[in-house]
Symmetry: none
Subunit: 199 residues, 4 copies
Amino acid sequence: MDITESNRGSKRDAILKAAVEVFSEKGYYNARMEEIAATAGAGKGTIYEYFDSKLKLFQEIMETGWNFFSRSTHLEDLMQKSFQEQIELIIAEHMRFCLEHKKLTRVVFIDANVIDEELKEWVWSIRLEKEQLLKGLIEQGIENGELRVLDSGVASKMICAIIPYFAMQLVLDEDNSNPDELAREISRNIMTGMGKNHL
Amino acid sequence: MDITESNRGSKRDAILKAAVEVFSEKGYYNARMEEIAATAGAGKGTIYEYFDSKLKLFQEIMETGWNFFSRSTHLEDLMQKSFQEQIELIIAEHMRFCLEHKKLTRVVFIDANVIDEELKEWVWSIRLEKEQLLKGLIEQGIENGELRVLDSGVASKMICAIIPYFAMQLVLDEDNSNPDELAREISRNIMTGMGKNHL
Amino acid sequence: MDITESNRGSKRDAILKAAVEVFSEKGYYNARMEEIAATAGAGKGTIYEYFDSKLKLFQEIMETGWNFFSRSTHLEDLMQKSFQEQIELIIAEHMRFCLEHKKLTRVVFIDANVIDEELKEWVWSIRLEKEQLLKGLIEQGIENGELRVLDSGVASKMICAIIPYFAMQLVLDEDNSNPDELAREISRNIMTGMGKNHL
Amino acid sequence: MDITESNRGSKRDAILKAAVEVFSEKGYYNARMEEIAATAGAGKGTIYEYFDSKLKLFQEIMETGWNFFSRSTHLEDLMQKSFQEQIELIIAEHMRFCLEHKKLTRVVFIDANVIDEELKEWVWSIRLEKEQLLKGLIEQGIENGELRVLDSGVASKMICAIIPYFAMQLVLDEDNSNPDELAREISRNIMTGMGKNHL
DNA sequence: TATGAATGAGACTTCATTCAT
DNA sequence: TATGAATGAAGTCTCATTCAT
């Protein structure tokens, strides 16, 4: 009746927000559509005006989430920098972004593998994409002479493994390091290695 | 009296095996007790002779699995070796073990976070234990002068992130590298770093 | 908008009515939720919109029933009367009420003891309440000089035993006496005793 | 193997005893065959060597119980006595008997109505028998001139209502009166009535 | 005779989804 | 567009009973 909440799509957004809230709290299977509706201040039926099913709602969140994460790394900023700077930037921005969107992060990273086949494959494809991006940067670094000659596939996977691991710990409050310092320490380890005296 | 395969506990084992099968295929929530029973060649009720509930059955698998994984790293073998050898051994053994128990690996690593609070905390405690073990090895390496002075907490987490990531890829047939070569490449990257010419 | 029978709570009432029907026919343990639902013209799940569980549904019927029975005895009407009139009125009203609600009576009196501990204690407390009420009336009668001096506890229990026994027989069609005549005969026996010539 | 427990039917008796124990504690529907077996110190399967089913086992207990109760009233002792003495004796013996067999009493009186149709009818027939017996005694008393002229059907039912009510209270420890005094008080009320000054 | 591992019918309950309003 | 009462498929779990030993 009011004109206040008649923003286009406001209800849809409220539902998405509520879904992130509930999914992150309960996980996909323990999340109840009714609770999402209640959290969104909507009726149970209303969700189905905007989303075909629970799974579709979840998928939309996942996709939105991954796009967010992707966009959080501003590729254009990377071009001019050294590999170490690139990697540090990617890590730091990822950490910061996850901290700003803790709940979304939990949903995206915890439930990603557990749902259905379709979703699982899609998640893997995204993961592969990330690996490819990093692989490209690494190969560029090797060409530049900044990196030594190594297996870029293995190297990119190592980095792809490390980033979400620390992100999860930050998000789950298991680790309250400063993201920037963390990113510096990690990228230093990646570049320099842990060993002493190699020449 | 016979020497048939009706040894004591054979049914229980069959159920556990079937459960690993089904859980790894479908995930915890999509696994149906009836399918587990059928896979085990048992009746629905038989499962409940040995396990109180679906969750308890799952927990037993998880614990068995983690214990397997833990025992797969033979600490006594590590003592006499250099850090690089230690880390390479840990990684290689972990990879080999996961490959030998692909389905169990999937269950343990994929569904670990999705179940109930109790289980989640237990999984985190195991994870922490692993980090502590590695942290200890790293600090020992620093004292030895084999490793440079670095934040052992961050370093151990990096390694703890890398190991299961590659294990999952091997297990999911996304990567069919040779585990030993993989372990060597990874441990070299960890020790030497990716960068060139640091002295 | 219509004046159909879809009044608020109509479904709930239908379920309660169906539950009385089925419980009285089959008893608590042999009553199946599905049959109650079908009898109510509702889906299986609908019952759970209104009642948490089978037991809760049963408890609600029991409580409603006992309250009915309690209210069936109009205490205000008793005050001005002699004890014999009081007792006759109580019995007669109880009988009439049970005959009007045969199925509810069966549920309340037959299944009362068989369910869970909580319910059992509650039923006993109601029973005790009845005994107390009658004990009060009896003691009043003794003070009035209408009754002889006797153990009011024993006397009240005797009456509390008699009432439901006859009620059950009426309700189960084992006895088709007229309730009012029955009440008169019973109360006469109670007052006068069965013996001859005591003075 | 031993000769000790090879008494004929000892196992059967143990099962019956255990069944009374468990039925009286849990009620028919909450009693588990497994618990009965365990209580009897027998295997689950052994029960079925002696009883066709849970229901049959229960029925046997009921019948045994009722026969006990019936035999507990020694009719031959009644013949020579006055009605008041007869009724007092019946009540007192019933009370004493119930107190001696508390568990059996609980089974017989609490669960009697709640099982299946067959059993229910049988129980009602027993009840009717009791009523007939008392009716006979009453009519004899009327003929003797010991009792006033009254509806012997109603009178016998009143007594049949009173006896088990007090028995239950004694057995459930709700009332710890002395059975003999209780019987005297009850029979006096029955004979003399509660009212004063009738001549 | 005695056993208890195995069974599976059947019960309760959940919850995503529909649809009349 | 928004709702929430109603639904019923589907899941977990129980427990009397069977049967090979």
